[in-house]
Amino acid sequence: MGKIALAFLLMLMPLSGFAMAQESVRIAYIDTLSGGGASVGVARLKAFQFLAEDVNAKGGILGKKLEIVPFDNKTNAQESVIQAQKAIDSGIRFITQGNGSSVAVALTEFVLKHNERNPGQEVLYFNYSSIDPVLTNAKCNFWHFAWDANSDVKMEAITNYIKANPSIKKIYLINQDYSYGKSVRAAAREMLAAKRPDIKIVGDELHPMLKVTDFSPYVAKIRASGADAVISGNWGQDLALLLKAAGSSGLDVNWYTYYGVATAGIPISLKQVNLNHKVFGVTEGIANVDYAPSREFEKRWRAKYGEDFVLFAPRQVNEIKMFVAAAEKAKSFDPIKIALALENMEIDVFDGGKGMMRKEDHQFFQPLYVASFGELKASEPFDEEGTGWGNTVVAKIEAKDTLTKTSCKMTRPQ
């Protein structure tokens, strides 16, 4: 019995591999599936798989099924490169990754090198979340596409919002002490000086990344500075603990953040310390945007994963949508043709409005929303993490107002 089953399995295995290669186009999802960042990585994987199911239910792409193949990079740059090589060896030509800019830089350099050395075997890298501006500036290349607004673009949105609020007079900057945090603070200083020269920057803090367990000392410092608003690019526990410490000590400032809305764990913390519409975030979309198609998607998503509070990112939807459109436009899965089709492609983005993949640096530009988290109005159906509070749009910034300069000079295939 055992032998027969084994023989049967052996017969089946090469067959299924062959069948897959015939019927599906595969995207390697190389991201953090274990360790500290796993909650985000797993949630994003579920979202990509959910999107692939949607695509396949409508007949796939050019008659082929879309398949997402997960690889765990342990949030480690070296490991990501190994996993990318593994994916390429198994015949995959499209890679997507999002969490950790150090990983993104390693991957984009690896893909560039691989494509130079293996003409005819090119690989594309779809970056859905890493927002270090270096990726679409100094280290940009033809094979890399970025769907999330990069850090400079987000700061452009935040400072545009601050510009329109004359009540903000003293700003404190607090960021994580590594390349990304430093680029956030540099962008904030530069843009505030240009847009609101009257604003005083009363503090400029870099704290160690993911090492601080008690932010009370930092909060005491912010209070002592007399700031009325804080700008922070923090993410993960560095944001949750900071806001929690601020809330429980009664620090009354407004928080302008990159990740204060629509990231896991933050809503629970904010509700706990009762920070009601004090925390603002900038994002390409939230559940309560008044747009029927995105609300319908949100409902379907929550019906499937809602109880576990799994979040998807609208930029993931945009990425898959554009990949499908590019393949259909190119009538091919050849990476070079798809890359060329993606350039300057305009689409209706997930939360309504137009978005465009800029040819010069492969940065996607889209309408951005400044949103705040707190009590909901009757017209806003979606709360977050079972808190009863949710995200409210306070300002929409059109794509054209988010265009930043780029220093990218990429080499294109002849």
Binding site: G36, L206, P208
Partner: protein
């Protein structure tokens, strides 16, 4: 300035007391079994999650009572049925065992409660500002935390220094054979002390959970700091652990509020100084290096006073 000093002092003392709750169990266990219990912070995390679960079912006060007892019993069972046998295979085996145990606890927590932070809150009855100092609200929960930590320290000190049980425990630390010959069950004493140590870690978890974030990676960031405390304080010394905890709590808190750097002390470097190393070191602020100060202190103590501040024997 005065405001910042007072607030920082308060924050530092509070943070230090929390560290002490965790370190007290670790230091006693370390001196008794001679084992660095890598899983200690894991039990702290277990305490936080048990506290979360029990407070969801029965309320926070039950959690405060039950969670440390349950986790303490688990700890005692670990000592009795695993560590005691492994003890015969030597220290390396014990070390590896607790190291593995830390991972097991983390994985179990992830399986049961997931990888995201859970919504763990303090009791509603403590949900008001206790007092306001320079317009900073001091939540009554933090005052409660302060009171519990001090109470535990005093209670531990009295039990160990003044009671008969303490006498036996202290004797077992240094002369286990002698104590056994006098008719005491040394094995039971070890199990008891281990259980109580773990229970204290769990208590710290129950109390700290609502203020810090209760999630499955909360143990990993803490364990190294705890080792610093018990080594700086002196192995097995409760008073040492207390002083070292407060010291590290205060140092970290005050370092954060200092913006001074070499540049602000001696003025900026000439523009043609090399960026690499020199310029970076010159402009780094004390606040930025705050988290590594405890480790620098550890190195200093090991060089200058290897037995620790209050220790009696060398590490």
């Amino acid at each position: 300035m005065l405001e910042l000093v007072i607030i920082s002092a308060l924050n530092g003392v509070l943070y230090g007391l929390l560290l002490f709750l965790m370190a007290s169990g670790l230091t006693v266990v370390f001196s008794m079994l001679g084992v660095l219990n890598f899983a200690h912070a894991g039990f702290y995390m277990l305490g936080a999650f048990f506290g979360f679960q029990i407070s969801k079912w029965f309320g926070f006060w039950w959690a405060l009572l039950l969670a440390p007892i349950i986790v303490g019993l688990i700890g005692a069972a670990v000592e009795r049925f695993a560590l005691r046998d492994i003890h015969r295979s030597g220290h390396v085996a014990e070390l590896l065992f607790t190291f593995g145990l830390a991972y097991v606890i983390e994985e179990v927590v992830q399986i049961v409660w997931g990888k995201d932070p859970v919504d763990y809150r303090g009791p509603p009855s403590l949900d008001f500002p206790a007092f306001s100092i320079f317009s900073t609200n001091y939540p009554s929960y933090k005052v409660f935390m302060f009171a519990i930590s001090v109470a535990i320290f005093v209670a531990l000190l009295i039990v160990i220094k003044r009671s008969r049980i303490g006498l036996v425990v202290q004797a077992s630390l240094t002369h286990p054979q002698m104590v056994a010959h006098l008719g005491h069950n040394v094995g039971l004493v070890f199990t008891l002390v281990f259980g109580v140590g773990i229970g204290l870690a769990a208590l710290a978890g129950v109390i700290a959970g609502p203020i810090l974030q209760t999630q499955s990676n909360m143990a990993a960031s803490l364990i190294a700091l705890l080792f610093v405390i018990i080594v700086v304080g002196g192995l097995g010394s409760l008073a040492g652990a207390f002083v070292a905890s407060l010291l590290i709590g205060l140092i970290q808190t005050f370092a954060v509020s200092l913006d001074g750097s070499l540049a602000s002390l001696f003025g900026p470097l000439s523009p043609d100084a090399p960026q690499f190393l020199i310029r970076n070191i010159w402009t780094v602020t004390i606040a930025q290096v705050a988290p590594i100060i405890p480790y620098a202190l550890l190195i200093l103590v090991l060089i200058l006073r290897p037995m620790g501040l209050f220790g009696t024997r060398e590490t």
